[in-house]
Symmetry: C2
Subunit: 337 residues, 2 copies
């Protein structure tokens, strides 16, 4: 049963990440994790008539694949926890309709994957549930036309902008292994440093990432070096620099063991400005690569910190700043000590 | 600690609904529960420049009021779980920014209030958390222009349409009383009976309500009469008829103890077609009236079943049908037996 180790942090036991399912678009497939994804789409319509339907099909594919790789059946799953970036999270909800699973829809912008994993971890730790699937999706073409401009315009992008990844990832959490232990989590609080530029979401999310990482380290009394990897979700190049600097000011040096899903997902020479974004990004980077590294023991301890920018086009038009949030989930390989 | 009593149902112990905060618009204030709300707005802009900012302020008011009525301080609250109908749930997220609370954003359309309460109940039952605030909001004017037509058009509405309520409600759940016990919950699954008419959401949600109520009764081995009141959220007149009929076909007669928040919130002669809707509706009807009735022992057992239609304007334009979902939460007055 979970033990509170601080205001926002919970120690978990008996929770295992046992398998993940991932699918990405063509451009993401050309990135360094290309060989690790379960499927790379040549056609980002995935055989559907619209990008929105394609994104929902990707969500469904990721969940089905994760359940299959866990050696389970849909009927073994107690609950699907998921969300995405589309208005009314239709990618998740329409996928949940096809999956016939009890369903809890969530929204945390690009922090959604760690929010889902945190909730799933708490529900399994408490023995309420035995098996939860946590899933998210994003699609460049659905996000672009919903959040920004019609794709046909071919709008230019400033260097701080991030590219919404075409990616869907699902992770099966279970009350037994074999798998990677989910050993703790830290709830995010909203941090808003009054950034107004929707083309600089890394800077808007970085203070939230730094806040959650600092809270996690303080409440667990751990040094940053406890983790082999502190993996932020989608700060990009600019946001990562800001987060590292903010944490240094608070006495934590994460520069040596920090990685960011938004930086890592694309090839180094890709034309994606500050990096990738979208809640699918951390789901597939974690699920396709880091989870396997943990399973193989090549990484022993990882803190996943997906970060979200809780704006909407309406809030931006109404002159609002961008609230950021980040939830953290700790994963450790090997048996319980 | 929660005990699974079936695939989707959990028995909870040591969870209490201790106080609620509510605020509604002028038209809702003229309904039968007018005297019970904490605040009735004369001006649905609530002193703000836009309806979206007003809705977020209502959300914040409801949370602050609920915490105050519980005799607590913000610092006593472990987590805020909330959502609303606006794209990217900005009402909740911008309110959470002002409230400085750990925050889990969720989206379940009009089922959001019971989804929040179900999650809060499970997290307190497991002793992970001591105090959770569950909150939702909706606003007629923000929903109308986002989901349907510019208000200035004054579009007519068919008899099956429902009016989005201007309402925000928050409920404090705690690990100790005095309060009303939260004794169980049943997770919703998506049910889609291929309704395509966004002006008939009651019919789209009724099969999901019937499915969850039947699952709850079967998995708890209870007859409908176990509850003094089975309170659905926002089926309206048409949807309620459908749900009662569907349950009768499955051998459950809820006609004698069924009430619907969407029917009850407005005066009987109000020009609101089939009734009210919006996730704020069940939050304020439950929080302002039924929770007090339970506290006073005038009702002993109530099953709250908020119902959601998981469509978006985009999914409708792309020819999709409307997936429905409903989550159920059981409340009982008096001490643990």
């Amino acid at each position: 049963m979970s033990r509170r180790t601080g205001k926002r942090t919970f120690a978990l036991s008996g929770v295992y990440a046992v398998a993940a399912g991932t699918v990405v678009g063509d451009m993401e497939g050309k990135g360094p994790f290309g060989p690790y994804y379960d499927r790379v789409l040549n056609d980002d319509l995935f055989g559907e008539k619209t990008w929105e339907k394609a994104e929902s099909k990707m969500f469904q594919f990721a969940v089905d694949k994760a359940i299959e790789k866990a050696g389970l059946m849909t009927g073994d799953v107690d609950c699907l926890i998921g969300g995405d970036l589309l208005n009314q999270i239709i990618s998740s909800s329409f996928a949940a309709r096809e999956l016939h699973l009890p369903y809890l829809g969530i929204y945390g912008a690009c922090s959604t994957f760690s929010e889902a994993t945190l909730l799933g971890g708490l529900l399994i730790d408490s023995r309420s549930m035995d098996c939860v699937v946590c899933a998210t999706s994003t699609h460049f073409s659905t996000a672009e036309r919903q959040y920004r401009m019609p794709l046909e315009l071919g709008t230019g992008r400033p260097p701080t902008a991030q590219r919404t990844t075409t990616a869907a990832g699902a992770c099966v959490l279970r009350n037994r292994g074999p798998g990677v232990r989910v050993t703790g989590c830290t709830l995010g609080e909203i941090v808003d440093w009054h950034i107004k530029d929707a083309n600089n979401m890394g800077a808007a999310m970085a203070p939230a990432a730094a806040d959650t990482i600092a809270a996690h380290l303080l409440e667990t009394q751990r040094a940053p070096g406890y983790y082999d990897c502190i993996l932020t979700g989608d700060l990009g190049h600019h946001g990562s620099e800001v987060a590292i600097k903010l944490l240094r000011q608070r006495g934590f040096d994460i520069s040596k063991n920090h990685a960011d899903c938004g930086i890592e997902i694309y090839p180094a020479n890709a034309d994606v400005q500050s990096g990738g974004s979208g809640c699918g990004c951390s789901a597939v980077v974690f699920g396709a690569f880091y989870l396997k590294e943990l399973m193989k023991g090549r990484i022993n301890r990882l803190l996943l910190v997906s970060t979200g920018a809780l704006l909407s086009p309406t809030s931006t038009l109404q002159g609002e700043t961008i609230p950021g949030i980040a939830h953290a989930v700790a994963f450790e390989s090997g048996e319980e000590g």
